[in-house]
C-alpha cells in the first residue's frame, strides 16, 4: 500500500510538470496530458524512481468525437505497477510524437493507430498503413467513418488508374 502511495505521488508530481491531470479508474492511474508533452511524460514514467513503468504494453488510438486520444498502457516486468497515459490529440491536426525511440515495440502499434485513426506519429521510421491496403481511403475506426455495404461501395467507388 505504501508503495502505491509513493507511486501515486510520483504520478501526480509528473502530472503537474506536464500540465496533465490524474484520474483513477478501476484501480489504475490514468494520466491525461496534451500531445506535445507525451515524450516527456513517457520518458519520465519509464524512469520513475519507485516502480518504473518501463514496458509499453499497448498503444491505441481512440476517437472521442471532439478529439482523439492515444492511449499508452504502461506496465513493468519487475513489478505490479501500471499506468495509463492518454495523449490528447487535436482532431483537425492529429499529430503526436512517435515513441518508437523509447520503445521499438511501438512501431507496429503506431502504424495501426495511423491506419485506423489517421493519427500522424512524428518521427516514426515507416508510417504506412498496416492492415488496410495502401490506397484505402478514410480511417475506419473514426466515429464519422461511414460503413457502407460492400455492394454499394463497389458501385460508387471510382477505380484508380492502373488498379
Amino acid at each position: 500500500m505504501e508503495n502505491n502511495e509513493k507511486f501515486k505521488l510520483q504520478v501526480t508530481e509528473l502530472a503537474t510538470r506536464v500540465n496533465g491531470e490524474v484520474e483513477e479508474s478501476f484501480g489504475v492511474l490514468v494520466l491525461k496530458v496534451n500531445a506535445p508533452y507525451i515524450i516527456e511524460t513517457l520518458t519520465a514514467a519509464k524512469q520513475f524512481a519507485d516502480g518504473p513503468c518501463d514496458f509499453l504494453h499497448d498503444l491505441c488510438g481512440m476517437d472521442l468525437v471532439d478529439h482523439f486520444e492515444v492511449v499508452y498502457q504502461l506496465t513493468s516486468l519487475r513489478g505490479s505497477q501500471s499506468l495509463r497515459v492518454k495523449a490528447i490529440v487535436n482532431r483537425e491536426n492529429p499529430v503526436v510524437d512517435s515513441v518508437t525511440r523509447i520503445w521499438q515495440g511501438a512501431n507496429y502499434l503506431e502504424r495501426e493507430a495511423f491506419d485506423m485513426f489517421g493519427i500522424i506519429f512524428k518521427g516514426h521510421p515507416n508510417l504506412k498503413r498496416i492492415y488496410m491496403w495502401d490506397d484505402f481511403e478514410g480511417y475506419p475506426l473514426r466515429k464519422d467513418y461511414v460503413t457502407e455495404p460492400i455492394e454499394l461501395r463497389n458501385i460508387t467507388r471510382t477505380r484508380i488508374e492502373g488498379e
Binding site: V28, D58, Q104, G105, L109, E112, M132, L141
Partner: protein, 367 residues
C-alpha cells in the same frame, strides 16, 4: 544489366505459401541463401474486429473473440468476458471459475501442441506433426462434448460458462492427464532430441533480453529470453493465485528455447488442471447477470496470459448497450515485430523456423 553486376533476389513468401501460418506474407531480400532484409506484410485476414465490436452488444461480441487466436479460443473468450465482468462488477461463481481455468489450460496445451507440431512441420518433421495433432484431437473432443464445437469453442459467457461438462468429460480429461508425460516424451524423442532439429534451432535467431523488453514481446517468447514474467503470477486474474505452479523460464534466447519452453508450459498446465480437478466445488455455473448488459460509464484494461503472449482487452463503455471502443491487444501482432530484426543474416530455412517458433496465428495478428 551487365554480367558483372548482381542484384538481390526479392522473394515474396506468402500469403499463399506452405510455411506461412495463415495469410502472412513477407518480402525477403536474399543474397544467395542469406536474408538481408525482411518486410512483413499483414492484413490479409483483417476483419475489423474493433469496428465490429462497436456495432454489437457486449454479449454478441463473444463469438467474434473466438476468431482471434483460433487455436486457443477459450482464452480469447475469457479475456473478453473478464473485462466486461470487471467493468460491470459481476462476481463469477466458484465452479465457473474452476471450469474456466480447466478449459483455459486445456486450450493452452492444445495451442502449444500445435506450435510444436507446426515448428516440426516447418522443418519437415512430418511424423512429429501428426504425433502432436493426435493428442490435440483429444482436447478437441473434450471441447466438443461440452460446447458442441471443436475449434471456435465459444464456451465463456459474461458471468460464467456456457455449459456444464457432461459426465464422460471427466474420465476423458483424467486419461488425457495421465497420458501427457508419455506424450511429451514422444515429442522429445521424435523432434527435440533429434540432432538435426537441434542443429537447426539451437543458437539461431537470438532475441536478447533487452531487445525483447524493448519490443514489448510477451508470453513464451519473452520467457525464453530469460525474463521471468507471467501475468498469471504477476497480476493473478481469475483464481490463478490459488494454484501452485512454476513459470518456466529459459535463458537460451534462441529458436530452440522458444519452442521447448512450450513443453515446460504444458507440464505446468497439467499441474494446474490437476489441482483444479481436486478443488472444484459443486454449484451454479452462471452468475446472475441482467438480460440486457449495460455496463456503467468507464474504461477497463484487462490482460490475460494467452498461450502466445498477453492478450489485452481495453473496453470503454459509454453507458449504452454497445461498447464505445473495444481495443484488442493481440500478442502475436506485437511479437511479430521481432521477425525482421532477429532473422536478419540467417538463411531462408532459419527464417521459416524462427517464424514458426513465434507461433503466430494470423487470426490474432490481423484481428
Amino acid at each position: 544489366m551487365s554480367i558483372n553486376e548482381t542484384e538481390e533476389l526479392i522473394l515474396n513468401m506468402g500469403p499463399q505459401h506452405p510455411s506461412m501460418h495463415g495469410l502472412f506474407r513477407m518480402v525477403i531480400h536474399l543474397e544467395g541463401e542469406t536474408v538481408t532484409k525482411i518486410v512483413p506484410k499483414i492484413g490479409y485476414l483483417h476483419r475489423g474486429m474493433e469496428k465490429l465490436a462497436e456495432s454489437r452488444t457486449y454479449a454478441q461480441f463473444i463469438p467474434y473473440t473466438d476468431r482471434l487466436d483460433y487455436l486457443a479460443s477459450p482464452h480469447n473468450n475469457w479475456a473478453y468476458v473478464q473485462t466486461v465482468e470487471k467493468l460491470m462488477g459481476v462476481v463469477v461463481p466458484e465452479r465457473a471459475e474452476y471450469l474456466r481455468v480447466i478449459f483455459g489450460e486445456l486450450a493452452r496445451i492444445a495451442s502449444h501442441q500445435v506450435c510444436i507440431a507446426s515448428t516440426a512441420l516447418d522443418m519437415a518433421g512430418w511424423s512429429a506433426w501428426s504425433y502432436a495433432f493426435r493428442d490435440r484431437e483429444r482436447i478437441c473432443d473434450m471441447y466438443e462434448m461440452t460446447a458442441g464445437s471443436r475449434l471456435t469453442v465459444n464456451i465463456m459467457r459474461i458471468g460464467g460458462i456456457s455449459a456444464e461438462p457432461p459426465a464422460e468429460f471427466w474420465p476423458a480429461l483424467q486419461s488425457f492427464l495421465d497420458d501427457t508425460p508419455e506424450m511429451l516424451e514422444e515429442y522429445y524423442g521424435i523432434f527435440f532430441g533429434n540432432e538435426i532439429a537441434q542443429g537447426r534451432l539451437k543458437n539461431v535467431g537470438i532475441l536478447s533480453k533487452e531487445l525483447a523488453e524493448n519490443l514489448s514481446i510477451t508470453g513464451p517468447v519473452l520467457r525464453a529470453s530469460g525474463v521471468n514474467y507471467d501475468v498469471r503470477k504477476a497480476e493473478p486474474y481469475s483464481i490463478y493465485d490459488r494454484f501452485d505452479f512454476n513459470v518456466p523460464v529459459r535463458n537460451g534466447c534462441d529458436s530452440y528455447d522458444r519452442t521447448i519452453i512450450r513443453m515446460d508450459e504444458i507440464v505446468e498446465s497439467i499441474k494446474i488442471i490437476k489441482q483444479a480437478l481436486r478443488d472444484i466445488p459443486e454449484g451454479p455455473i452462471m452468475a446472475k447477470v441482467p438480460k440486457v448488459i449495460k455496463p456503467p460509464v468507464g474504461e477497463v484494461y484487462h490482460r490475460v496470459e494467452n498461450p502466445k503472449g498477453e492478450l489485452g482487452f481495453y473496453i470503454v463503455s459509454d453507458g449504452t448497450t454497445k461498447p464505445a471502443r473495444v481495443r484488442i491487444r493481440p500478442a502475436t501482432f506485437i511479437n511479430l515485430q521481432m521477425l525482421p530484426i532477429v532473422a536478419l543474416g540467417w538463411k531462408i530455412q532459419d527464417v521459416v523456423a524462427i517464424f514458426a517458433t513465434l507461433d503466430a496465428v494470423l487470426g490474432e495478428v490481423d484481428k
